[in-house]
C-alpha cells in the first residue's frame, strides 16, 4: 500500500515536470523556423530544392527570412565553388580547343558568381538594401545560363547537373531576398 502510494505520488510528481517539458521540447525540435522554411520556399520557383537546402543547414530551424536568405546565399557559393572545381578539373584534362574555350568561359562566369554575386547579396541582406541582393542573385542564375549556352554546340555538357543546381538555387534565393524588399 505504502509502495503504491509512493509510486502514485512519484507518478504525479513526474507528470508535472515531464508534460510541460515535453510540450517545449516538441517546439524546440520543430524550431521556430520549421514551418517558416516551408512557407518561404512556397514563394520560390523551386520548392523542393529550397526546402532541402535550407533544412540541411543547422541555422535553418531558427532563422528568420533574412537568415534564410543568408543561408541560401552561402549554399549558392558552396555549390558554385564545387562546380568551379569540376570545371577546372575538366580543363586540365581537356584537349579539344573548342571544349577548352567553353570551359574557360564558364570559369569566368563562376568566378563572377563566387567573387561578386554572392558577396554582394550577403552584404545587401545584412545591411538592409536587399534590391542589390535580388539583382546579384538573378545575375548568378544568368551566369549559370550563360555557361550552359557555351555548350550548345558541344556534344556533352559535363557539368549539366551541378550547373542546374547553381542556377535554380540562385533563383530560389533571389525570390527569398525579394521578400525583404
Amino acid at each position: 500500500m505504502k509502495n503504491i502510494i509512493s509510486f502514485a505520488l512519484l507518478q504525479i510528481a513526474c507528470s508535472f515536470t515531464f508534460l510541460p517539458v515535453s510540450q517545449n521540447s516538441a517546439l524546440e525540435l520543430q524550431g521556430n523556423g520549421g514551418n517558416l522554411i516551408e512557407t518561404t520556399c512556397k514563394k520560390t520557383p523551386f520548392y523542393n530544392l529550397c526546402v532541402s537546402t535550407l533544412q540541411s543547414d543547422p541555422r535553418g530551424s531558427s532563422a528568420d527570412v533574412a537568415g534564410l536568405a543568408r543561408i541560401g546565399a552561402d549554399k549558392v557559393k558552396e555549390k558554385a565553388t564545387a562546380t568551379l572545381g569540376q570545371i577546372t578539373g575538366l580543363l586540365t584534362g581537356a584537349k579539344d580547343p573548342k571544349l577548352k574555350m567553353a570551359l574557360r568561359d564558364c570559369v569566368d562566369y563562376y568566378n563572377a558568381i563566387i567573387k561578386y554575386d554572392v558577396p554582394v547579396a550577403i552584404e545587401a541582406i545584412a545591411k538592409g538594401n536587399p534590391k542589390f541582393g535580388v539583382q546579384s542573385l538573378n545575375d548568378a542564375a544568368n551566369e549559370a545560363d550563360a555557361c550552359e549556352r557555351k555548350f550548345q554546340n558541344q556534344p556533352k555538357f559535363p557539368i549539366s547537373d551541378s550547373n542546374k543546381v547553381v542556377h535554380d538555387l540562385s533563383a530560389v534565393v533571389a525570390s527569398i531576398v525579394q521578400l525583404l524588399l
Binding site: Q11, L36, D64, A112, Y116, N129, K131, N138, D139
Partner: protein, 647 residues
C-alpha cells in the same frame, strides 16, 4: 491532465461491493489505486504523444496567418499595385529575358572598352550608384555619388566627389566621406545638401551603422572658404536621427534637402514603409542637430513598398525657371518623387503642399506617386534634383546602371554612369507631366552637323543617314505621319504596349517609325528609338514612344527588353525627338522631354566606325516625313582634378 486520459472510467461504481468487509474494501482500494496509477502512467505517456502532435497543429495555424519570425519581419502577402498603365510590363525583378541567340560571343577588350562613355559622368573605374548632395557653391557645381572603391559591383559604399563649371566637364576629387565611424561603418549612403541663407552648406546622409541600423547623420565642409569643398567633417554628435518607433531599422534612409517653413524651421522628409505602404516621414529642425518628428506623414500610397530617395520640390505653374526648395505660393505646385525598391523605377506626381499639417495631396489620385508617371521608362533610378541658384533652374540627376552581366562588368572594371543632368519644368500643356531636357551646356560639345530636310520614308523602308562616325551624337528630329493615312486607317480595339509588343519589327498601320541607332551596315545589330501610333475603334489616336533592345546586340548576356510608354501628344504638336548617343548609353526625349527613355546597349559589331544611323518606317499604311539635324559630339574629357591646382 485528467481530460486527456480517455481511459478513466466514467463511473467508479464498477466492482464496488457495498456489502464488502473492511478487508475486502482495503484490497479493493489497493486494486483501484494500482489500476489508477497504472492508467495514470499510460495516460501520461499518451499525453506526451498527443502533446507533440497538438503543438504541431498550433504551429501550422500560426504560420497560415503570417511568419513566426521576429515581429519586424511580419509581413502579410502584398498585392502589387494595380495596373500602372501600358508601359509597366514585366517587373524587372525577374530574370532578364535573354534572347536565346546562338552567339558564342565572348566579350573582347575592343568591345568592352568601346562601351565607356565620352560625355556622361562616370568615375575612372569601379561601381557607382545614387547621385548624392548635388549643389552649386562658389562657382563650382558639385556632384557626390555612391561609390565602391574596391570593385565593379555594389558594396563598401563611400562618397565619391567631382566638380564642374558647367555640369558637363567634370574633374574628379578625392573621396568626400568614407566609412570611418560606427554610425556609417556599414555604408555611407545617400544624402542631400541644404544651402543655408548665409551661404553655408550642411549635408544630411544615411549611415548604415556597425549594427546595420539605418540612421541619419550630419556633415559639413571642413573649410567653407574652399570652393572645391574637398574635405568634410562629420558632426561629433552623430547620428542626429535614428529610426522612430514603428519604423524598421532597415527602412529609414535618404534624407532630402531641407526647406523653410513659415515658422522659420527647416523641414525634411525621409522615405520609409509600413508593411507594403510606402510613406514619407517628416521632421522639423532649427539646427540640423535636434529634430522633431511631425505627426503623420507627408504622403503615403498603399502597395508601393519602400520609398527610397524621396524628393520633394516646388515647380512654377507659369514661369520657365526653377524654384528654390523653400518657395511656396499661389503660382506653385509641389512634386513628390519616389524611387520604388520593389520595381527599381522612379515615379513622380504633381500636387499641392499643405504646409500647416505638412501633407501633400496629388492632383490626380489615379496617377498618384508610385502608381503613375515615371521620370524615365528605361533604366534610371535614385534620381535627385537640386535648385541651381547660379542659373535659376532645377536640375535633375539620375543613376543609370548596367544591363549587361556582372561578369562583363568585372571584366571591364566598371559599372554605371549618370544621366546628363536635366532641367525640370512643369509641363503647362498637360498639367500632369514634368518636362526634362538635357542642360543647355551640353550644346558646347557639339562639333560638326548634318541636316536632313523633309525626308520621306515610305511604308516599310529604311533610309541610311550618311553622317560619318555614329557613336557620339546629338540628334534632333521631327516626324510627320501622312495625314491621309491617319484618317483613313481603321481603328481597332487592340491594346498596345511597348514592352509586350514585338518591338520595331512588329508592323502596325501607323507605326513603328523613328531612328535606328548603333546599327551596323547589315542591320544585324540595331537599337530602334521610335513612335508607334495606335488608332482606337473610336477613332482616337494614342501615341507610344519606345526603345527596342531586342536586336541591340548579338551577345546573349544583355537585356533585350523593349522599354517605353504612352506619350500625350496634343493637337497641333508634331512628333519630336532628341537622342543623345554616347557609346553604350542612349538617352531619348520625346515631345520636348515629356517622356524620356534611357537605355544601355552593348553591341558587338555596331561599334567604332561600324556604327551607323538610319531612319526607318515600319508602318504598313502610312509614309512618314522626317527632318533632322545630327551633331557629332566631343568628349567631355572627364578626368582627375590637376594635382598641382588642388588645395
Amino acid at each position: 491532465m485528467a481530460d486527456r486520459n480517455p481511459f478513466l472510467p466514467v463511473s467508479s461504481s464498477d466492482g464496488f461491493n457495498p456489502t464488502g468487509t473492511q478487508v475486502n474494501r482495503r484490497k479493493l482500494i489497493k486494486q483501484l489505486l494500482t489500476i489508477f496509477v497504472g492508467l495514470l502512467a499510460v495516460g501520461l505517456f499518451a499525453a506526451l504523444l498527443i502533446g507533440n502532435n497538438g503543438s504541431d497543429n498550433a504551429h501550422v495555424n500560426e504560420n497560415e496567418h503570417g511568419s513566426l519570425a521576429s515581429s519586424t519581419s511580419k509581413k502579410p502577402e502584398s498585392l502589387r499595385p494595380v495596373s500602372r498603365g501600358p508601359a509597366a510590363g514585366v517587373s524587372e525583378k525577374s530574370n532578364r529575358p535573354f534572347a536565346n541567340v546562338d552567339g558564342n560571343l565572348p566579350w573582347n577588350n575592343s568591345m568592352l572598352s568601346w562601351q565607356r562613355t565620352a560625355f556622361h559622368f562616370q568615375p575612372e573605374k569601379n561601381w557607382m550608384n545614387d547621385p548624392n548632395g548635388p549643389l552649386f557653391y562658389k562657382g563650382w557645381y558639385h556632384f557626390f555619388y555612391q561609390y565602391n572603391p574596391n570593385a565593379a559591383v555594389w558594396g563598401d559604399i563611400v562618397w565619391g566627389h567631382a566638380v564642374s563649371k558647367d555640369l558637363i566637364h567634370w574633374l574628379h576629387l578625392p573621396l568626400a566621406m568614407v566609412a570611418d565611424q560606427w554610425y556609417d561603418k556599414n555604408g555611407v549612403w545617400t544624402g542631400s545638401a541644404t544651402i543655408l541663407p548665409d551661404g553655408k552648406v550642411v549635408m544630411l546622409y544615411t549611415g548604415s551603422t556597425a549594427e546595420a541600423v539605418q540612421v541619419q547623420n550630419l556633415a559639413y565642409p571642413a573649410d567653407h572658404s574652399d570652393p572645391l569643398l574637398v574635405h568634410w567633417v562629420k558632426y561629433h554628435g552623430n547620428p542626429v536621427l535614428v529610426p522612430p518607433p514603428g519604423i524598421d531599422e532597415k527602412d529609414f534612409r535618404d534624407p532630402t534637402t531641407a526647406w523653410l517653413t513659415s515658422e522659420g524651421k527647416w523641414r525634411i522628409t525621409i522615405g520609409s514603409k509600413i508593411n507594403k505602404t510606402g510613406i514619407a516621414l517628416v521632421y522639423d529642425t532649427k539646427d540640423f542637430i535636434n529634430y522633431e518628428q511631425l505627426d503623420g506623414v507627408l504622403h503615403a500610397v498603399p502597395g508601393t513598398g519602400m520609398w527610397e530617395c524621396v524628393d520633394f520640390f516646388p515647380v512654377s505653374k507659369t514661369e520657365e525657371n526653377g524654384l528654390d526648395t523653400s518657395v511656396n505660393g499661389p503660382g506653385v505646385k509641389h512634386v513628390v518623387k519616389v524611387s520604388l525598391d520593389d520595381d527599381r523605377h522612379d515615379y513622380y506626381a504633381v500636387g499641392t503642399y499643405h504646409e500647416k499639417n505638412s501633407t501633400w495631396i496629388p492632383d490626380q489620385h489615379e496617377i498618384d506617386v508610385g502608381i503613375g508617371i515615371r521620370y524615365d521608362y528605361g533604366i534610371y533610378y535614385a534620381a535627385k534634383t537640386f535648385y541651381d541658384q547660379n542659373k535659376n533652374r532645377r536640375v535633375l540627376w539620375g543613376w543609370i546602371g548596367e544591363s549587361d552581366s556582372e561578369a562583363a562588368d568585372k571584366q571591364k572594371g566598371w559599372a554605371s554612369v549618370q544621366s546628363i543632368p536635366r532641367t525640370i519644368l512643369f509641363d503647362k500643356k498637360t498639367g500632369t507631366h514634368l518636362v526634362q531636357w538635357p542642360v543647355e551646356e551640353i550644346d558646347s560639345l557639339r562639333l560638326n552637323s548634318n541636316e536632313f530636310n523633309q525626308v520621306t520614308i515610305q511604308a516599310g523602308s529604311v533610309v541610311p543617314l550618311d553622317i560619318g562616325p555614329a557613336t557620339q551624337l546629338d540628334i534632333i528630329a521631327k516626324f510627320e505621319i501622312d495625314k491621309e493615312a491617319l484618317e483613313k486607317t481603321t481603328g481597332s480595339n487592340l491594346t498596345f504596349s511597348c514592352s509586350t509588343s514585338g518591338g520595331a519589327a512588329e508592323r502596325g498601320a501607323l507605326g513603328p517609325f523613328g531612328l535606328l541607332v548603333l546599327a551596323d551596315e547589315s542591320l544585324s545589330e540595331q537599337t530602334p528609338v521610335y513612335f508607334h501610333i495606335a488608332k482606337g475603334s473610336d477613332g482616337n489616336l494614342k501615341t507610344f514612344f519606345c526603345n527596342d533592345q531586342s536586336r541591340s546586340s548579338e551577345a546573349s548576356e544583355v537585356n533585350k527588353q523593349i522599354y517605353g510608354s504612352i506619350i500625350p501628344v496634343l493637337k497641333g504638336e508634331n512628333l519630336s525627338l532628341r537622342i543623345l548617343v554616347d557609346h553604350s548609353i542612349i538617352e531619348s526625349f520625346a515631345q520636348g522631354g515629356r517622356t524620356v527613355i534611357t537605355s544601355r546597349v552593348y553591341p558587338t559589331k555596331a561599334i567604332y566606325g561600324a556604327a551607323k544611323v538610319f531612319l526607318f518606317n515600319n508602318a504598313t499604311d502610312a509614309s512618314v516625313t522626317a527632318s533632322l539635324k545630327i551633331w557629332q559630339m566631343n568628349s567631355a574629357f572627364i578626368r582627375p582634378y590637376p594635382n598641382d591646382k588642388k588645395s
